[in-house]
Subunit: 603 residues, 2 copies
């Protein structure tokens, strides 16, 4: 690429639309342009980075025996109705774009492809002999994000690799799953990323187990909880832990106390001179299912703990059948006032709030779903709401003053400082991360619903055991920038840099500089050292600034050293400079690049 | 690829959904699977063919200095409203899928990218020094086709290469245009296609001139008119020609004749004993513009000629401003009855039908737009309708019995047998073709509307001169099959075949056969000869049938000749077979493949 002949416009100022460094730098350095909220064009430099990253993904997926294919982006609603996800994706999470075609049929733009691939294999796989199998694609995906932000980190149109595995049984699935997980580690390592593998919630994809691959960065949207010894790491949405033990209650008898203006737990504990761990906090949630039925949930949890709404949602999804529904659409913490007959101010509800409080005018189940988090079940002489303004109960006890809810669940948020388990003294630490990969053991969730079966060794018909595996390629690329920049610009990891080297010609009026630059440009490109020639008639300062901004790993400067038959080679990352005899350049670059070349894999 | 380890299921029967051979074969040979009307999955073999074809396109586009990028598939309506195409694409042609996102904004799925690319360059190009420029992408595109059919030939989701060029002026555009046209010829040649370059109508894309690249095949949807000497070739939609001369009219005086039951021109000419060329045929069309105004058009054309509705639509688009509209939405030949006050049966209308016949109850312009095709202006003593049931006029003359319409246009369909021009005795011949490429000189159509300007050498601000260039990659691939098959299956051109060779192991129980097959498999793949190993435990007949069906150019059979240290190499196309010493295979394949390898191009 000759910079004088291509579309190359860098920006000196940070664009107003960008909040985080990687986003700013990709805009400034002529990698991407925003077209609309969460929608970007990939300019030629970016296209190369995406292709190189895709190629690494391809090589590692092929290495574990996966086969590349390409599935349609337009998906018909029929298949999503078979799997039961049409409502969830178009309404509950609302992340799927949908439309109606000229034949008045509902279509959606694929955010994921479990339905499509299952519909293909159910027609093609008939016998256990056809498995194990793993099919993948690299494709643009769509999500109608509530808040698109951070450039390619959370965009509405993005590039993804998604893979789907098919096995006879769970043991074989686990082999496939573990092979892909290892491939993922190799991919992220080859891309030069620092990352963590963590336990994860499976969300709307579902299944038996899942792990996320998190790139560590301060601007990550996810919280990772982990132990220093590496024995535990999980997304905070999924993490479990042992809470601090509760303090002994200062109360020893049941009593109603006046508690004026105690609209926060902190005020309450100060007034009553007790610990937050002595308090049973009660929260009201409203859940709506796909059959339009709503239920009110009364959650009791220890005063110093918070509810993990992802865990709560999962539990409510398991209970959908109880309400003749198939999936949870929304879960919201409630302001009470519109839902309950009498005004009960926040903070004064008790676990024994009567069902008759429910405002039955709305399409709402007539009794509360009462849930106790595990943190409250052993509390003695606790403090809690009295269902009466300005009053609380102290010295409450399950089985005496209050009935313990039948449904006892672990729905608390694990947090920094918690112990991981009773036999591990490591405490949880917290970091921010960006999810760049996610692997799922789906089991038979989709194959059962969509009737994708096979005949096993004994002639029995069984549902296929599936896995699915995603990598956000455009997000990965921006994460690599977020982990690799300095005040002057991007510092691409060598393996995914758009080019390996850039030749900077300090003075375009000096014929010798141009001649030698041209020769180096041809010689290096001819042997596969991908090289840019900056042959613009710009000032040398501008050229160096641009070379640093766009982050090409090596600069080759055809300046003063030419008279000794040498050029200067500067490493972008360290700024280390060395003078190199021109004829030695190919050997030097072969040496520099040798670690990023993989022996070609055929499949 | 080892056939025993991948998803490979061929079909013996033609699937009911397929009408043409290429479609049947791609389904049967495990290349594609239909998900919904006009929506297909590309299975692993197909994915390789698409990638190889894309790579050829890439190399030739790069060779003429174009740069690859990737633009979003989701397009915002704002940009299409700026260019004035939102209505045309969502309503008139109705080929663009559109949807409303969660922010209630209108989005569309890109069938083409003039708007997006123009919005990018208008922000980045400021000076003539930044041009010439050519940007392209290879991407999945969408069209909500009225009648998706023939598999990938006319599908709703398809793979395309689209390129956009930017120049200072028309002379430079023509250089870019001609370079891309040459690249296209090289691409289609490399892909092994037999094709024609023809003049084309520019349709909804618009601009100054355009050419199509047509693959010749009997199942093509387009008609190509051409001369044997190669001096002329055009899409029938665009073609112009000289009609046969008219016969001398047998009538010499104006008269009204009774013409009972003459509801066809043939019956009329037989009854009156005159030639079709003596008749002025009158057709009623209804055109509707984007401002909801409709007009009735009375077209007079010689009885032996047909109206080219593409030409008529283009003329009506030019006239949109007369009706305070900006674009034509629909053009339909009319059944008259609902539009005219009195019932006038088909075939009895005259060019002098009074405006007062128009049924003014509808939102319809109150006077006819009267158009005479050039074929009628020199007719003497013609026959035409009398605006009265069962009666025609004979001996009509313009300027005497009838007023010649002011609007005289060439809107006739050129047809087989016509002369191309008065000084060329070649007669037009007709063939069917499939459009696989289309190049357009857009001029300043988009840059003016979207204010994409630059400063020229003299400091003047001017609109950028644009071109655009498309290749239907998935359509091209199916066209290649349509041109290359026999009764046993596909015969891929070597350059785009998914693999170069397939090793057929006749007997999986013979250890030596397997050992040698494995060795050949590794050796050939290691030197870039892409080879499949058919290691399935199928009968030999099945293996040969499948090898032929999937169309791999060379079969390597590890059979009886092994005892002489040889394998049999069979060419798929000719069935020619040769015995080759195993160690000679690499040399043989290097020789066979040498013509399809291009020296690597860097840019």
């Amino acid at each position: 690429m000759r910079l004088s002949q291509v579309l190359f416009v860098t920006l000196r100022e940070d664009p107003a639309e960008a909040e985080i460094m990687s986003h700013k730098l990709l805009l400034r350095a002529c990698y991407i342009r925003r077209i609309s909220s969460g929608i970007y064009s990939y300019l030629p430099l970016m296209w190369r980075v995406l292709q190189k990253t895709s190629q690494i993904v391809r090589e590692e997926m092929n290495f574990v025996g996966a086969q590349e294919c390409l599935l349609p982006q337009l998906q018909i609603s029929d298949l999503w109705k078979e799997s039961g996800r049409w409502e969830t994706y178009t309404k509950a999470e609302g992340i799927m774009f949908s439309l109606v075609d000229r034949q008045k049929k509902e279509l959606a733009l694929g955010p994921t492809h479990e339905e499509i691939i299952t519909s293909i294999v159910r027609d093609m796989i008939t016998s256990y002999k056809q498995m194990p199998l793993n099919l993948y694609q690299i494709q643009t995906k769509f999500r109608d994000e509530i808040r698109p932000r951070f450039g390619l980190m959370r965009s509405r149109e993005f590039m993804m690799k998604d893979a789907y595995s098919f096995d006879e049984n769970i043991e074989n699935l686990q082999k496939n799953y573990s092979a892909v997980s290892q491939a993922y580690c190799k991919i992220f390592e080859r891309c030069g990323l620092s990352f963590h593998v963590v336990e994860a919630d499976s969300g709307a994809i579902g299944g038996l187990a899942s792990q996320e691959f998190m790139v560590l960065t301060d601007v990550g949207e996810d919280e990772i909880l982990y132990t220093k010894d590496g024995s535990y790491a999980a997304n905070a949405e999924k993490a479990t832990s042992i809470p601090n033990p509760e303090d002994i209650s200062p109360f020893d008898s049941y009593e109603e106390r006046e508690t004026l203006n105690c609209n926060t737990l902190k005020k309450l504990s100060e007034l009553l001179n007790c610990s937050l761990t002595n308090i049973v906090k009660n929260l009201l949630y409203k859940a709506t299912y796909d059959n339009q039925k709503s239920i009110l949930i009364l959650v009791s949890i220890r005063g110093d703990q918070d509810v993990n709404e992802v865990k709560l949602s999962n539990e409510l999804n398991y209970l959908a059948f109880k309400y003749e529904a198939s999936t949870l659409l929304t879960l919201k913490i409630s302001d009470q006032e519109s839902l309950l007959k009498d005004r009960l101010p926040l903070g004064y509800i008790g676990p024994d709030l009567k069902d008759s409080y429910i405002n039955s005018k709305e399409n709402i189940e007539s009794s509360f779903l009462r849930i106790a988090d595990k943190t409250v079940i052993n509390l003695k002489n606790f403090v809690t709401g009295s269902n009466k303004l300005d009053h609380h109960i102290v010295g409450g006890n399950w089985g005496q003053s209050h009935r313990l809810p039948e449904l006892i669940l672990d729905i608390r948020k694990a947090k920094e400082g918690d112990k991981v388990s009773n036999d591990n003294y490591e405490k949880l630490m917290s970091k921010k991360g960006i999810e760049v990969g996610h692997v799922f053991q789906l089991g038979t969730k989709y194959s059962e619903k969509m009737k994708a079966t096979f005949t096993d060794k004994n002639g029995e018909e069984k549902p296929i055991t599936m896995g699915c595996y995603g990598i956000g390629i455009s997000r990965l690329v921006q994460s690599a920038v977020e982990q690799n920049y300095d005040k002057n610009g991007i510092i691409w990891p060598l393996a995914i840099a758009p080019y390996h080297a850039i030749i900077v010609v300090p003075n375009m009026n000096e014929k010798k500089q141009i001649e030698i630059a041209e020769k180096i440009y041809h010689d290096l490109n001819n042997i596969g050292i991908e090289t840019i020639l900056d042959d613009r008639t710009e000032r040398i300062g501008v050229k160096f600034k641009d070379a640093e901004l766009i982050g090409i790993p090596y600069q080759i400067v055809t300046g003063r050293t030419l008279k000794f038959g040498k050029v200067e080679v500067v490493e972008r990352k360290t700024k280390n400079s060395q003078e190199v005899i021109i004829e030695e350049l190919p050997r030097l670059f072969h040496e520099l690049l040798k670690n990023i070349k993989l022996s070609s894999q055929f499949i």
